[in-house]
Symmetry: none
Subunit: 307 residues, 5 copies
């Protein structure tokens, strides 16, 4: 455990040593091991968006083993997926990459205004599969959010008692928000705060836009001249909003960015004090060679070997 | 355990030996035993559609013992039914055919837009009746799907801990979908993916039509020129969508097909890499002699003894 | 145990000996003991319809002991009632008549479109009161039916493990059905099938009318020329729909029939292969002497001593 | 329920109606039904003494069905046996005779000075087999008696909550007593009192001899001139010792008595206020015709049709 | 299910269909499938006697997979072993032979006078490993027998509720018996009776000698001239002692018999009405080819193809 990892773990002092051990397993694994930065491969799109939309661009992804291979070869800190995908692929990759079991999921065969994810697996599954963490999505802004927060609370309580870390996907959605508001900087910062308050060990949010959604918030942002004009500033603000950087906050990219734009976003995350990226479609929807090169650049930026 | 069965079981390596044993019991039973193909007799129509609609065409089916006889004489891999039907018929057929307890059911005395099946039996019942698996229906596309996924997750966790396999009927229905969309190829593929992600050991879907229901999916099917013009191609796509064929996917026929058309569908399932058929009304709604001949042809096609 | 009782019990071979013993206790008790026919006295109307509507016609019924006396003196096979009525009357009639604890009940102080009964007692109560069975009402056709089926499943599992038989009142009602549809022959047959599938040992349904409610069913009744023009034929069809007569199906009369009409209905139940009657208001709403004479005729018809 | 049964049940007023119902089932069953007297067939000798010693005299007894037949044909009030014997014989005799599950048993392959019976079945078994009572043996006088009393207390609590009656075999044995003391009148009376104190509904003791075992007791018997010179007097004293006759006390005979001597003992039980006999070896170790005649005489004496 | 298997299963009518299914799985498996006879391979000697004593004669037995191969190739009805041996070998033989999990075991590193086996696995293990039965050893004659009977009762109750059959090794041992008495015919018959009373579905005992151990029993054997001079007669007596042949009783051989002597014993088991053999050391302590030939002869004798 180097000094940076020691420092990060010190923020989790009230977690039991098991949770801290599993955080350390992720932080010390892969190409970014020991840097305090993380790149996680998440693959829940088969469930969330359907198989063709997810895997047709790179049909290797129809096979559950592909994601293990990709995460391992790229040197990701962890690989996150729903129950079935982990179960169907793990046999050949035992012990080769830290695993996060995504415990709730949502599909698009009904596209409700106020979504809620179904609980699709649990702590017992995570333990018997040898995972280091459970993952859970909340939709702040949805009329169903109360149920989701409570479900998270229950699974987090059980997970931490068993020494598993808790990773929260905090994705504002639902009738409380405009479409653009879902990535408004005040909303993303708020979502990070809620996840931190709910006990998340690692928080995943989307990259925030310059928009401020909520009227009452807008007044404050103006009055106190909170700097949010650059992405670096906004990342900094979101990280600050998650207990002043004392919780690991990582950011997801979207789908459509050109690579150079994506790399610039990674630089902003790095410079704003973010802890890393969680990169799904942008990695597994291209051929493996291309994906490995892409992830190599991302990790280079985080390590500082690439500016 | 021959090489093909060994290969299939290798995909289920993260299941305990009990689940794999019960999968083997089905795969090794009956006329298709050892081929890796399955024909299952399901009889839940008395509950799902009412007794007269189900059994008047062949009144022998009013008697619970008839389905055991039919499944045994035809050499089916398994017989699936709700609690009452198994309880009332099993005594004379102990050990003669693997049994799947259908644990949730829906009736048509109220025809809701967003259906949900009632849980009508459970793992304890399956064990005391000597079943090899529990069966569970989900309706992706229904506003009630979240509840159903969670019910499935709970019953699957309990079943697998007890060494029982989990068979999921994944039938898209509900306000999220058009009537034709229920069998659209993108929707069926998506339904297969969801069942696989939820931990299904065996997945039952309907044969897909050429239609693509969802707009976002349509773009992908076109862009990547996913071949879906023949039934064989569509079967292949659905099987691919269930972890690239690493989960057993079987297909149900409808009611009204002429025999030759049905046999052509079986050929398409076989040639597309499907694992078999689950044939209810098309078998038990005709006289037994006729049904045995019909199933004999179906199995012959799967075995390859009939082209 | 005579041959007829032995035959009936053989249908329940997958139940444990305790359940079969309690079925035998009912089948062997009273004037119809050993005939395979049953007449049960049910008194849940105080709860279901209110006291005055139920007991004013014969005020003796305000006293819980009256129903024990009536059932015993008439030689009924069993007496069924909710918790309070059994508790308040049993002391003087210990062991004198088999008791069925009606475990859920519904009142009319709110007359919902989609009713659900409240669970008002359970298996522990049935055991401490010395009952032979639990009774449970389901309303197929109600939007609440899923909940009711699941409640029945839970209570049935617990009851059978404790050796108690399960009697299901299967009464179609709710927004899925027209008023006349509640007793339509297809609906009653469907309701009997559902109860059987849910594991009912004894099924109580209403006498079916000639009406066919459901469109899809109508086609089948016509195509296969299912005979339903006489009450005898309809009874036969309903009994057939409950596992071809391998479950005990008994029928309730209504309120207003003239005695001769009622006796004709009993003849139709007998000739159609029904197993008996459950007679509440028609017996306890008349003076005891009259009721005893009335029930004597009913039982005489079942025994064959009256044509 | 006639007046005598009503009187007997009145003593059990603090038991729930279920326990009283099961007492009534025994009291109302068989040739002595309604008399308040009981003759019970117990068969635990296969376990307690070994099969040859038990069944060689009448090899029909090797078959578990034989005892059901004997108890039914003789018109016994109940048949008591360990788990295996009930399970292996019950199928053909469902509902034909009240059953008592003997829940603990002892064998002679080790003949300890201070015996304790092993718990070999429980309340769940009694319920699923349709029994009316659990039976339990205690050995007052054994160094292990404390454990046995506590085991009885636990099983009795559970049994009564489930409406089962509790029958206690109270057999003084062990290092606290001389061999003759096991049937000494003071010891038998004491054993009856202990069983009553432990909550036994029915108490089974051996016929007492004239001997008084305990020194302190001897003084009292002499001082108060308690009449114990005739068997009738001793039976009266034992019944008095079980709450002045407000608990059912029945007596076992031994093996070797000549029939006339046995009948005289039955007369003494009857005249002393005993409630009946539990007759094992003396009934099942003779040919069935002989046994039926023998039991017919015993029951005749209890009914008063034979003096 | 042929007529003989149907007849055997009819004796187990009070067991649930699950237990009967697992009995059928054993009875229908292997070379003796359908004959009603069984040959079971048991391997607990590594635990009971130590590895070198067990496996040095044929070192192939050090490998857990060897016993699966042997049982499968020989066509045994089942293979029985402790937890570790099953866990370490099962992966390559899923579904190929019915498995019995030996749930308690004893070692010789302390050789007590009154032994008790340790509970080393349970019903949950048996289910997750896909076993058809649990196995349990009792030592009648040991001062610890009471504890063992109670442990068996608890595991049997749990196993049967989960549909698993219960196989009891009933091996008299301990301070209550002489060394020769352990196989005395009265003791073996008594041990079979105790196992049957405790609810064993299949009973394993040692072949009885002509000796009669217990004084009281001796009188009976002489008085009733019970024929025990030939092994066939003694087998008959033991089978009779297990509910007159209505429980499956199988016999173990010893180690040192010459093959011809062993085959004669098998003939005696067959002719005396025994249900088969459980053959450990005599099969796995010789080279596989030799063992297969040996078992082939044994099975031939049971099938009747060899006289």
């Amino acid at each position: 455990m180097n000094d940076r990892i020691r420092e990060i773990l010190s923020w989790y002092d009230s977690e039991n040593p098991g949770v801290r051990t599993n955080l350390a397993r992720m932080l010390n694994h892969g190409r970014l091991g020991g840097t305090g930065k993380m790149v996680i491969l998440p693959v829940d799109q088969g469930f969330e968006h359907g198989p063709a939309r997810s895997f047709a661009p790179n049909p290797a992804g129809y096979d559950p083993r592909y994601f293990f291979q990709l995460a391992i070869e790229a040197g990701c800190n962890a690989y996150a997926a729903p129950l079935g995908l982990l179960e169907a692929g793990i046999a050949d990759y035992i012990g080769d990459v830290p695993l996060i079991l995504k415990c709730n999921n949502h599909d698009l065969l009904l596209d409700e205004k106020d979504p809620i994810s179904a609980i699709t697996s649990g702590v017992g599954d995570a333990l018997r599969l040898g995972c280091v963490a459970v993952g859970f999505t909340i939709y702040p802004g949805s009329a169903e959010r109360t149920t989701m927060y409570q479900e998270l609370r229950e699974i987090a309580e059980e997970a931490k008692a068993a020494g598993l870390a808790v990773v929260v996907w905090s994705y504002p959605r639902g009738s409380g928000l405009s479409k653009e508001g879902e990535t408004a900087v005040d909303v993303v910062a708020y979502a990070a705060q809620i996840a931190a308050q709910l006990g998340a060990d690692i928080i995943k949010v989307k990259l925030p836009s310059e928009k401020v959604e909520l009227g009452e918030a807008q007044k404050v942002y103006q009055k106190y001249e909170i700097p949010i004009s650059t992405l670096t500033e906004r990342v900094h603000h979101v990280v600050q909003s998650a207990f002043n950087g004392r919780r690991i906050v990582i950011f997801s990219g979207g789908t459509y960015a050109a690579d150079e734009q994506f790399f610039d976003e990674v630089r902003a995350i790095r410079d704003g004090g973010g802890f890393g990226s969680i990169i799904g479609r942008n990695s597994f929807q291209r051929k493996k060679d291309d994906a490995l090169k892409f992830l190599d650049t991302v990790m280079g930026i985080y390590k500082g070997s690439i500016q």
